[in-house]
């Protein structure tokens, strides 16, 4: 009996006091994704897939420069050293590929890999066609028509029509190793043992539970060889779970801590890292029906929102007020006429001008579809209730209808028809990393659903013209100018209620050093080190 007690006691002692040790140089991250993103090449799970899997294991021809915090991430040479459009035929681009680059499996990177990857996305009858990966990335490569090998280190990319946006699309195509694929001839098996050229290589994958990467010692860029030996990624879709995991030392870094917990995290010595990045939390308005078909009413709504209040009291400063699609300091911001600061008096005045009286005569009424959660949606319920309250104060009555996130995205894609016929707006968050995702897909008349995501529908020939012009401006400076001008027009038209930009808060233990939060959805983990 005695012995049993001792055993039990010591077992309990062991259980109570032994803790999981973080190996030296191992970075453990808690992601918001509910599963490990697809590792077979073109990632799923949206941008978090690119962030933690795509851009770590693989590389595109043109990459994002994620090493600076002070300006939006720009495009820099990746697996291509240089690229240029043919003067004679602007639908063709010549990419000169980097030499002496090896895949994780040891095979050399050549033009064959580029063509192979392209075919895996576009060539339906190819044996190496990746149904799933293709479905993930095809929307982002809309303008690309063909890729041809000119020689071992040169590739020619052809577009449907001449467009200067090619680099912004090429950066989403991850190059996979054909040699490795041929070993399996199956994308699922390849996904378990993938081979790319990126700074990390995959060592272990437990579906829905765990992803383990290790530093790729032969990575071609010596300045970006990872400082950590290993990086482990754990899916933790619940904010409380992430918080618990960070506090108990189970992980070193979590994405999006619950905003309420930030003060206590700071007090406990954790680092809270944030930066502006191309994110929008808005209400996309329906422009062909009352009340949002009236520009004055739309502007009024934009002046009625206390954005600073939302960011300060609800989100503990993990967001920034939005007065447009892009933010001040971004090359596409321009100088919009309307500043949309919190001005309920102005809002009421605008409503009066529009013929809405709020009190007795015509109050503004609308039904808005929101979600109860979702990636990038931040805290939809409390935030929307604040928005609703703000609008009510100036005489705009919006009825919020919450649905589940997947349901919302599905309904959004079909536009304001069918079961959505009675809706006047939706609350979905968006990114604006490149001109297409910022403007093209929403504001061009060719993007009206179901072709793309222009649900409002927003039709403005001037904006169409500017977008087409920007696509033809092969000089980045000129392109930015045009886009800035476009932005000014859109801000003035107010097709959305601009509310806030998320600041992508991350919490990490004090031992994590060297991380530079970029103005991007993606991160560079190679500069990170984990101390004792």
């Amino acid at each position: 009996m005695r012995r049993l007690e001792t055993v039990v006691a010591s077992l309990f002692a062991l259980l109570a006091f032994a803790g999981p040790a973080g190996a030296q140089g191992t970075l453990r991250i808690g992601m918001t994704a509910s599963d490990i993103p697809y590792s077979g090449g073109q990632p799923d799970n949206g941008f978090e897939g690119f962030r933690f899997v795509g851009y770590q294991i693989y590389e595109p021809l043109i990459a994002w420069d994620l090493t600076r915090s002070d300006r939006p991430a720009a495009l820099v040479p990746g697996l291509a050293e240089s690229w240029e459009v043919r003067k004679a035929d602007p639908t063709k681009w010549v990419f000169k590929l980097r030499r002496n680059v090896k895949f994780h499996d040891g095979s050399p990177f050549t033009a064959d890999a580029v063509v192979f990857t392209w075919e895996s996305i576009k060539k339906k009858d190819a044996p190496h066609f990746d149904t799933y990966g293709s479905a993930q990335v095809i929307p982002r490569l809309a303008s690309l028509k063909a890729m041809k090998k000119l020689d071992d280190h040169t590739v020619e990319i052809e577009t449907n029509t001449p467009t200067s946006f090619v680099p912004y699309q090429v950066c989403y195509m991850m190059i996979v190793s054909p040699v490795q694929w041929q070993k399996f001839k199956d994308w699922r098996k390849f996904a378990d043992q993938p081979s790319g050229t990126g700074p990390f290589r995959l060592t272990k994958l437990v579906p829905r539970e765990r992803l383990e990467l290790e530093a790729f010692k032969e990575y071609w860029n010596p300045s970006r060889r990872p400082k950590v030996d290993k990086a482990i990624f754990l899916p933790m879709p619940e904010p409380t779970t992430r918080l618990a995991a960070l506090r108990s030392g189970q992980v070193d870094w979590i994405e999006v801590p619950p905003p309420d917990a930030i003060p206590q995290l700071k007090a406990a010595g954790f680092q809270i890292v944030m930066n502006t990045y191309p994110h929008n939390w808005t209400h996309t308005l329906r422009l062909d029906k009352e009340p949002w078909n009236n520009k004055l009413v739309r502007k009024a709504a934009n002046y009625a929102i206390d954005r600073v209040g939302i960011c300060k009291s609800l989100l503990n400063d993990t967001c920034a007020p939005a007065s447009g699609i892009t933010y001040k300091g971004h090359p596409w911001y321009g100088t919009p006429k309307e500043t949309y600061e919190y001005n309920p008096t102005k809002a009421k005045e605008l409503l009066r001008q529009a013929g809405f009286d709020g009190a007795s005569k015509r109050p503004v009424k609308a039904v808005h579809l929101i979600s109860t959660s979702g990636s990038g949606q931040m805290l939809p319920l409390p935030m929307n209730e604040l928005v609703q309250k703000n609008l009510k104060e100036v005489g705009i009555d919006i009825d919020l209808q919450p649905v589940e996130w997947n349901a919302l995205t599905q309904r959004f894609r079909v536009g304001f028809t069918g079961e959505n016929a009675g809706m006047n707006a939706w609350n979905i968050s968006f990114n604006f990393q490149e001109p297409w995702s910022a403007f093209g897909r929403f504001f061009h008349s060719k993007s009206v659903v179901p072709a793309s995501l222009n649900t409002m529908p927003y039709i403005n020939p001037e904006v169409d013209k500017l977008l087409d012009e920007a696509a033809q401006a092969f000089d980045i400076g000129r392109q930015n100018e045009i886009l800035a001008k476009l932005h000014e027009i859109v801000v003035d038209d107010a097709p959305w209620i601009f509310i806030v930009h998320d600041l992508n808060p991350r919490a990490m233990s004090a031992r994590v050093k060297g991380f530079v939060p970029p103005q991007s959805w993606f991160v560079d983990l190679t500069s990170v080190s984990v101390g004792k």
Binding site: L14, L15, A16, A18, P20, S34, D35, Y38, D44, G46, T131, Y132, A135, Q136, I138, P139, R140, W187, R188, A191, V206, P207, R208, E209, R210, L234, M236, E238, T240, T241, A244, A245, R247, S248, Q250, S375, G376, E404, W405, N406, A407, T409, Q410, R413, V414, G415, I428, F430, S437, R441, V449, P450, A451, S452, L453
Partner: protein, 312 residues
């Protein structure tokens, strides 16, 4: 008796078939589109339609059902839309975790429940009996997911003794056990309560029977009476044990959600919200099959212990 066994086995087949129809109908008649759930938000409706055609989700329902059934009969539960892994593989991994949790919760609750129940029965009417009964009723009435949250508050947040989530199977057995501690306790509460009450009630029934009094009058020792009680209450207890193990396995969804324990419940939750139809179908079918088999086993075990039952 073998006729009874044969009959029960035969009956299991239409039950399983019926279950498969229900599973398929439930999942497919539900509103919502599985394709758009796994595509990026950026994808337009045109992109979704193209993907749908690629996957072949446009067949009429009865055709889809028969095809699915045919594959299931061969052991192929299809592939999850989200991970493109075979559903069977995913479910198997998750089932292992759920079984571990259910088994440990069952062992814990059965052990303590039976002990408390018997103890209460033998202490009938006295203070200890009242105490045991009170504990039992508390166990039965507590929402186990709430109990899980309370346990997290006390043992993870305030005391930081035990981890709050996941299974951490990779970090070794000790870590796994630590992660298992709180969910097991939370899951064990209701079965504990149920068992205590049932055992107490059954034991009291038997103790009250006249010939027990006669036996005791004849001088039969306590231990023998005890053994007699146990033997006679066994069939009833067995049924309850089976039911409660079923509850622990099927009801683990709520506890698994609270603790992010990667079991079938957690997986099912994920499949529901991702509208991953093949996965959802697979999980429910596997679980339903498991339960039909479990019920069968309990029935047969009962017959073995008390052959009189077979005559019904």
């Amino acid at each position: 008796m073998w006729a009874y066994v044969g009959r029960r086995l035969l009956l299991a087949i239409p039950t399983l078939l019926g279950a498969s129809i229900i599973v398929f109908a439930m999942v497919h008649l539900a509103p919502g589109d599985p394709m758009s759930a796994v595509m990026p938000v950026d994808a337009s409706q045109a992109d979704i339609e193209a993907a749908r055609r690629m996957y072949g989700f446009d067949q009429p329902l009865p055709v889809q059902y028969l095809r699915w059934l045919g594959r299931v009969a061969q052991g192929d539960l299809g592939a999850s839309i989200a991970t493109r892994r075979p559903v069977l593989q995913d479910v198997y991994a998750a089932l292992k975790n759920s079984l571990v949790l259910a088994l440990s919760a069952s062992v814990l609750s059965f052990g303590i429940g039976i002990a408390l129940g018997l103890f209460a029965a033998f202490q009938r009417g006295r203070a200890l009996d009242k105490l045991m009964s009170a504990v039992a009723i508390v166990g039965v009435s507590v929402p186990h997911y709430w109990a899980g949250i309370i346990l997290i508050i006390i043992f993870s947040v305030q005391l930081n003794w035990l981890p709050a989530m996941g299974a951490a199977a990779e970090d070794g057995v000790l870590e796994y056990l630590k992660h298992m501690a709180l969910p097991t306790i939370a899951l064990a509460l209701i079965p504990l309560g149920v068992l205590t009450r049932v055992v107490r009630s059954a034991a009291l029934d038997i103790l009250a029977q006249e010939f027990v009094l006669a036996l005791r009058a004849k001088g039969l020792g306590r231990a023998m009476v005890f053994a007699h009680v146990v033997k006679n209450s066994a069939p009833q207890i067995l049924t309850v044990l089976g039911l409660q193990f079923g509850f622990a396995l099927g009801g683990s969804v709520l506890v698994e959600t609270v603790f992010s324990w990667p079991g079938t419940g957690y997986l099912m939750n994920l499949a529901i919200f991702q509208r991953d139809l093949p996965l959802l179908q697979g999980i429910i079918l596997v679980l339903a099959t498991f339960f039909v088999v479990l019920n069968l086993a309990v029935d047969l075990a009962q017959t073995l212990v008390d052959p009189r039952i077979a005559r019904h």
